[in-house]
């Protein structure tokens, strides 16, 4: 029960985020095909402006030492480079262009009633599991 209360706010953020996802057609397979054929600015505008707003936000948080609502210091985690960011990213790019969805949109598409996408999501979970299984043997 405590877990649910503590995490409810993230569910609310997720709902708002999901609404934006659907209304902006970010989760449309057709929009992703357009993006990868350079036939529309729409997706580039969305990702680009999201990154700019995110950058300004992170800069402001650091500059003014903004705290969480619980008064904790905000921690940002640096990413360390490994070759997975090349090989894995290329593989994800292949999957993104086929399914027209990254992981977030899969959840939103299911929510809109595209029930068959449950299969795609289960397959993505299986892909994650197989990565975990083979991790030690893959180049990183």
């Amino acid at each position: 029960m405590k877990t649910i209360m503590n995490n409810f706010k993230y569910l609310v953020v997720g709902v708002l985020f999901g609404v934006v996802f659907v209304k902006s057609e970010v989760i449309s397979w057709f929009r992703i095909q357009e993006m990868f054929r350079l036939q529309s600015f729409h997706m580039y505008g969305i990702i680009g402006s999201a990154v700019i707003v995110g950058m300004i936000s992170v800069w402001l948080i650091k500059k003014f030492n903004i705290k969480t609502i619980y008064g904790e210091k905000i921690e940002l985690h640096p990413k360390t480079f490994n070759k997975g960011q090349i090989y894995g990213s290329l593989i994800f790019g292949f999957g993104w262009a086929i399914t027209g969805a990254c992981p977030g949109p899969l959840f939103a598409q299911i929510g809109t009633g595209a029930t068959v996408i449950v299969v795609t999501l289960l397959s993505a979970i299986a892909g994650t599991w197989v990565y975990g299984l083979l991790r030690e043997r893959l180049p990183h």
Partner: protein, 187 residues
């Protein structure tokens, strides 16, 4: 007002709102925006199978599962209250290319002509829905993040490995969409 909200939202409204998820999650509880991790937590919760990569306390990361459940509900709420009855408007060049593969239904977010339950057991359906999903899950975890974790959160925090990842996402997508996917869709 409701009529305006039902129209597709332009990029300059949607993009900044998506960007605001970064500070919202940080300020609400020090959470770094990222969605693909939820798939790992689901593995850790349901089928850890003694694999070291899945042996951690996923319950501490439960917020991420609430977040993705919210995204799913957001999709449902939008369809019920804010849905736009018109088909998606895309570049006419794409419309004519897709017509060549028999994709003519633009009414939904997914192309129903190729993504539906009865297509699932065809070669094309298996490649698009099952193999495609597998590559998304395998690739994002191998890359250590997806569009949200690398392209938005990582770039917001000026992490160069995330820039490498984002460029590689795009290269993979361009190769697939222009060279390989047309072959699959022609099956």
């Amino acid at each position: 007002m409701l009529e305006i909200l039902k129209q597709p939202w332009p990029w300059y409204i949607a993009g900044p709102l998506i960007g605001l998820t970064v500070p919202a999650l940080l300020i609400l509880g020090n959470k770094s925006f990222g969605i693909s991790s939820s798939l790992r937590h689901i593995c850790a919760a349901c089928l850890p199978a003694n694999i070291p990569f899945f042996k951690y306390d996923w319950k501490k990361e439960a917020w991420n599962l609430f977040f993705v459940l919210g995204i799913l509900l957001g999709g449902t709420i939008t369809m019920h209250f804010l849905s736009n009855p018109e088909p998606v408007v895309v570049n006419p060049k794409l419309v004519s290319e897709l017509a060549g593969y028999g994709i003519t239904n633009f009414n939904n977010l997914v192309p129903e002509d190729i993504m539906n339950w009865s297509a699932l057991l065809t070669v094309k359906g298996l490649l698009v829905m099952v193999l495609g999903g597998f590559l998304v899950g395998f690739g994002t975890r191998y890359a250590g993040g997806c569009t949200s974790g690398h392209a938005i959160m990582g770039l917001s925090n000026l992490q160069w490995p995330s820039l490498v990842a984002t460029i590689c996402f795009m290269i993979g997508g361009f190769l697939m969409a222009n060279l390989i996917l047309p072959q699959i869709l022609s099956l």
